[in-house]
């Protein structure tokens, strides 16, 4: 009896694709929690309550640490969600592995693309094909303790001067605390100098002269002594919460860790005097809404993707979830405009660089971190980056060699 029913349903699905889509029950996976989660669930609820649709969406939160593994385990085997939301850095890998993310280029016209901040669309494009709609972006900016520092510096020259004035090393007070041992953060300097980790054809460019120059500047800052040693993210949060760090380079996630008694402000990262006044260009991660390649309801899934990345949903995500939506129209809303944090990140994203979404990206972290640690321990940036370049080149070649 049940088989018969399934058979009928399948026949009906073939004959009337529109009808099948209208009754779709979708599952979406995300890794939000706290305020972001409730805002997202509110958006999902609003979507389900729309009178003109019969698509119902269930949201499942998956811990970030398990997300990628869970996707890689479930989706290629025909299980898993219809839609999932994740940063673009794993996207290239999923595309290359196949059977995971559905290309959505076909659905998307220029009007829809025009909805978003252009670089966020670029972040989700792989080899000329669009694989997801941008939901929101995350970039690092300058976060400062307003009690210690009223106006944040605009250039690195000012930054060094201000930071030195606020530093008292023996007392554990620092002008600037940031994860300069973490390549993700340091990339903002490298990009600012015009460097980067891969060229257009995904060949590694770790030891490009621009990168070395950027690291030389980092070494100069370290020698000036206004940054704490061994800067783990936990330490930076602690320092800022204890009022022992005046400035921090970090992203929106950091604001959720700030203690309630700290009065903070957010401003764009300074411009780099040493790079001819070019701005620091942080890496931007974009959370894309991806349609699973195994979904039975791809049309409906795309409908949902379009809805959550729209302006209406974006306002909820921005004001209640404290996220920075990729939809441009959100920032025309007076409430959003009046929000200093959201507008600061919006300003920052103008100069941000989408973090590469190629599969080779995951290979970069290990050699890059090693190089950065070497530089921070006092070795020459040039040599450290040469070693990193060689290591990365070897790993990239290993994947490309023919059998």
């Amino acid at each position: 009896m049940r088989t018969l029913f399934v058979l009928l349903a399948a026949v009906a699905g073939i004959l009337m694709p529109g009808a099948a889509a209208a009754q779709a029950k979708l599952v979406v996976w995300h890794s939000y929690r706290g305020g972001e989660k409730s805002a997202f669930e509110k958006v999902v609820g609003a979507f389900n309550a729309r009178p003109d649709t019969k698509i119902k969406v269930d949201a499942l939160a998956v811990p970030f640490d398990a997300f990628a593994d869970k996707i890689s385990a479930a989706v290629p085997r025909g299980k898993g969600p219809d839609i999932f939301i994740y940063a673009q850095d794993r996207m290239g890998g999923w595309v290359e592995a196949g059977n995971t993310v559905e290309p959505i280029d076909f659905y998307v016209d220029d009007a829809l693309k025009g909805r978003f901040i252009p670089t966020t669309v670029e972040a989700l494009t792989y080899r000329g094909n669009l694989y997801g709609l941008p939901l929101d972006y995350k970039v690092i900016a300058l976060i400062h303790n307003r009690k210690l520092l009223k106006t944040p510096p605009r250039t690195t020259g000012e930054l060094v001067k201000v930071a030195q004035g606020l530093t008292n090393r023996p007392a554990g007070k620092f002008g600037l605390a940031w994860s300069y041992g973490d390549f993700y953060y340091v990339a903002s300097l490298l990009n600012g100098f015009g460097g980067g980790v891969f060229d257009k054809a995904t060949r590694p460019t770790m030891n490009a002269p621009e990168n070395v120059k950027a690291l030389d500047l980092l070494v100069k800052w370290e020698k000036a002594g206004f940054m704490p040693a061994e800067p783990s993210s936990a330490l930076i949060t602690s320092l800022f919460n204890e009022g022992k760090a005046a400035m921090v380079f970090s992203g929106p996630w950091f604001l959720g860790e700030v203690a309630s008694d700290i009065d903070y402000g957010v401003a764009p990262l300074p411009t780099i005097d040493e790079a001819g006044g070019q701005p620091m260009r942080p890496w931007m991660t974009v959370e894309g809404v991806f349609v699973s390649a195994q979904s039975q309801h791809k049309d409906a899934a795309f409908e949902f993707a379009k809805y959550v990345t729209g302006a209406e949903a974006g306002k909820v995500m921005a004001l209640e979830g404290r996220q920075s939506p990729a939809a441009k129209a959100v920032y025309d809303d007076p409430k959003v405009q009046a929000d200093p944090v959201l507008s600061a990140f919006r300003k920052q994203v103008e100069v941000a660089v989408p973090m590469p979404n190629v599969a080779e990206m995951t290979m970069m972290w290990s050699p890059a971190t090693t190089a950065l640690n070497k530089v921070n321990a006092g070795n020459s940036p040039r040599e450290a980056m040469d070693v990193a370049q060689k290591a990365l080149q070897k790993d990239v070649d290993a994947l490309r060699k023919k059998k």
Partner: protein
């Protein structure tokens, strides 16, 4: 059940011969059936690729949309009735000979929503061509779907070196040449058995004699079978080559008729999926003799290898059954059925959930599997022992830095191995000795507050180690860590713990030592209860000192419970991923990586799955050797 005695060796060798021949002949026949189907399949695909390449090059030459449509319909006219052609550029269906695309749906038109897969396929082919040109991982530029005997092939369209669209061609099925009958194999089997029966009846029932006769008959039958089948396979291969050549010749002729061009290189249409010509067929459509013969040779050799393997298996079955091995196994199963029933559930669960993943991992280690080729079957990625050779053959311990001095290469396998061994030994020695010491102290009769101590001492085990590991890491921070503060109280200089391999290792050791001793303490505590108190009393009466009592009574009595715990904690510490990952993260410069963190990096950061699996298999091999030796030495599997 009374023991019926072993069956006579005459019967046993007969049964053995039957089984052996079944394995070799039936297995071989099934194998060849598969191989021939595969062969026919491959030739059909290859002919379809010739056709789509021919079509693609013609469509690429057309000057405008109308020209394309005209060409496509003319092309359709020169091909068998079931042929279907579709040309797609961007979101447009530019030309089509599919009966569905008529009337309102006639080309040119925009692709409908449910035709999205066509658009995606065109995009995929374009990305594949781009990727191959950039020297990326090899990608398919032609996609083939099997639809029964028919082939749906798609190839990119190019203009001025850029991919502008896609042509999709359905090549209808051709009648199959039919399989090979199993009569020959059956006859050989019957013939060999009859001969054996006659020989066994005539000859004296001596084991050596029967073994010789049955083996000889087996080999004879197998040789006949293999010889005949290989010949037939060679012929099939030659037929395939001829059919391909005639397809090329036909396409060249049609192309000439359609375009009027005279110089057409049809050999270039016979390509692999990356559109590289095989070079088997010449421009005019004749077979290159030498290459054709070489390919037939390859096919025969591949089949021969599989058939010989099967024959060896069959021979093994013959010998095992013939000499009574199978009989003995059956007897053992029946006699010890109670014991086997007791262990069966545990063994089955472990086999299913542990050994399957494990065999999969070992198979993976012989391949070049990585993120770009996960959808291919493992057999196509086979690289034999290459991964192992690369890992174990890396002897670059030192390298010269830019300023001329030598730098140790911490990423070398042997360094990581050495470090893993040091890490394991120090951790286990600390865990066992400290845990045992605490257990002994806590086992003191009449000591107050023992339950409270016990509970407080297992806290490190009870708390999730994700957070305690990070607390420990924080304690070693240069400026804000408590360890340096304590050093300062005693007047020492603060240390940068994570800057040198040795101090970095100490931080991980301190963390893991703290985490691991409670387990050993609990195990020792339990084991101490198995020692009868009267043993000690007897020893005391004999005047033995406490140390003597410990050596003579405590340690030997603890052995049965402690040795397994030690062996297993060696295994676990060897693969203690979390602590290294969370505390040192391999710093500085990868010097404190252990083998498992290295394997993890290969799998999840470098996407070299095959290589990582080889790493994991080597880890397994090392531990297996250790376990075997330790087991030999301590006889842990033996009862007292």
């Amino acid at each position: 059940m009374s023991p019926a005695g072993p069956p006579a060796s005459r019967v046993r060798f007969g049964i053995g011969l039957l089984f052996g021949l079944l394995v070799a002949l039936a297995g071989g026949w099934a194998l060849l059936l598969g191989a021939r189907t595969q062969l026919e399949d491959d030739w059909t695909t290859r002919r379809a690729i010739v056709a789509v390449n021919a079509l693609g090059s013609l469509v690429g030459q057309a000057t405008d949309d109308a020209g394309v449509r005209k060409l496509v319909s003319a092309w359709q006219g020169t091909h068998p009735p079931g042929t279907r052609v579709r040309v797609i550029r961007g979101t447009t269906l530019e030309a089509s000979t599919d009966p569905a695309d008529t009337g309102a749906k006639a080309a040119p038109r925009r692709l409908a929503r449910e035709e999205k897969p066509l658009y995606d396929q065109a995009q995929r082919l374009r990305a594949g061509v781009d990727s191959n040109r950039e020297g990326g991982a090899p990608k398919a530029e032609i996609e083939v779907e099997r639809q029964g005997g028919a082939r749906q092939v798609a190839a990119p369209l190019e203009a001025d070196g850029k991919v502008t669209g896609m042509v999709r061609l359905l090549v209808p099925a051709e009648p199959s040449t039919g399989g090979r009958s199993p009569v020959q194999a059956v006859l050989l089997l019957v013939f060999a058995l009859v001969l054996y029966a006659v020989a066994a009846w005539l000859l004296p029932p001596r084991t050596a004699l029967l073994a010789t006769v049955s083996t000889a008959l087996f080999c004879l039958a197998a040789a006949f079978f293999v010889g005949g089948e290989l010949r037939a396979l060679g012929l099939a291969e030659r037929d395939g080559q001829r059919a391909l050549a005639s397809t090329v010749a036909a396409e060249v002729g049609r192309a000439r008729a359609l375009t009027g061009a005279s110089a057409i290189d049809g050999g270039a249409w016979d390509t692999d999926l990356a559109r590289k010509p095989h070079g088997l067929v010449t421009g005019a459509g004749a077979i290159d003799r030498e290459k054709g013969e070489a390919q037939a040779q390859r096919v025969r050799r591949g089949a021969l290898r599989s058939l010989l393997t099967l024959a060896a298996l069959g021979l093994l079955a013959l010998v095992v059954v013939g000499f009574g091995g199978a009989h003995r196994v059956g007897r053992a199963l029946v006699t010890n059925r109670q014991a086997y029933a007791y262990i069966a559930p545990a063994i089955m669960g472990t086999t299913l959930l542990v050994f399957f993943p494990f065999l999969y991992g070992i198979a993976l280690s012989f391949t070049d599997s990585n993120i770009y080729n996960t959808n291919l079957p493992l057999t196509e990625l086979w690289v034999g022992l290459r991964n192992y050779a690369t890992i174990l053959g890396d002897f670059s311990f030192l390298r010269r830095a830019a300023d001329g001095h030598w730098v140790f290469n911490y990423l070398n396998f042997y360094w990581t191995f050495l470090f893993t061994v040091i890490w394991t030994i120090t951790n286990v020695v600390w865990g066992v000795s400290f845990g045992l010491l605490l257990a002994l102290v806590l086992n003191t009769k009449g000591l107050a507050l023992r339950p409270i101590y016990r509970v407080l001492l297992i806290l490190p085990w009870a708390m999730p180690n994700y957070i305690t590991a990070l607390i420990w890491k924080g304690m070693f921070h240069r400026q804000f860590g408590v360890v340096n503060q304590v050093l300062a109280i005693f007047g020492f200089e603060p240390l940068s713990w994570f800057d040198t391999p040795f101090t970095s290792y100490l931080t991980a050791l301190a963390t893991n030592g703290w985490l691991s001793f409670p387990f050993m303490m609990v195990v020792s505590l339990g084991a101490l209860q198995s020692i009868p108190a009267d043993l000690y009393e007897a020893a005391r009466v004999d005047g033995a000192s406490r140390w003597q009592q410990f050596r003579a009574i405590t340690l030997p009595s603890l052995k049965p419970a402690l040795v397994p715990a030690v062996i297993l904690s060696v295994v676990w510490t060897f693969n203690m991923f979390n602590i290294i990952y969370l505390v040192t993260a391999g710093e500085p410069g990868g010097s404190t990586e252990i083998l498992i963190t290295q394997a993890y990096k290969y799998a999840f950061q470098r996407y070299q799955y095959g290589y990582a699996a080889a790493y994991a298999t080597i880890i397994f091999g090392i531990l297996l050797v250790y376990g075997t030796i330790q087991n030999r030495v301590t006889r842990a599997t033996e009862a007292l």
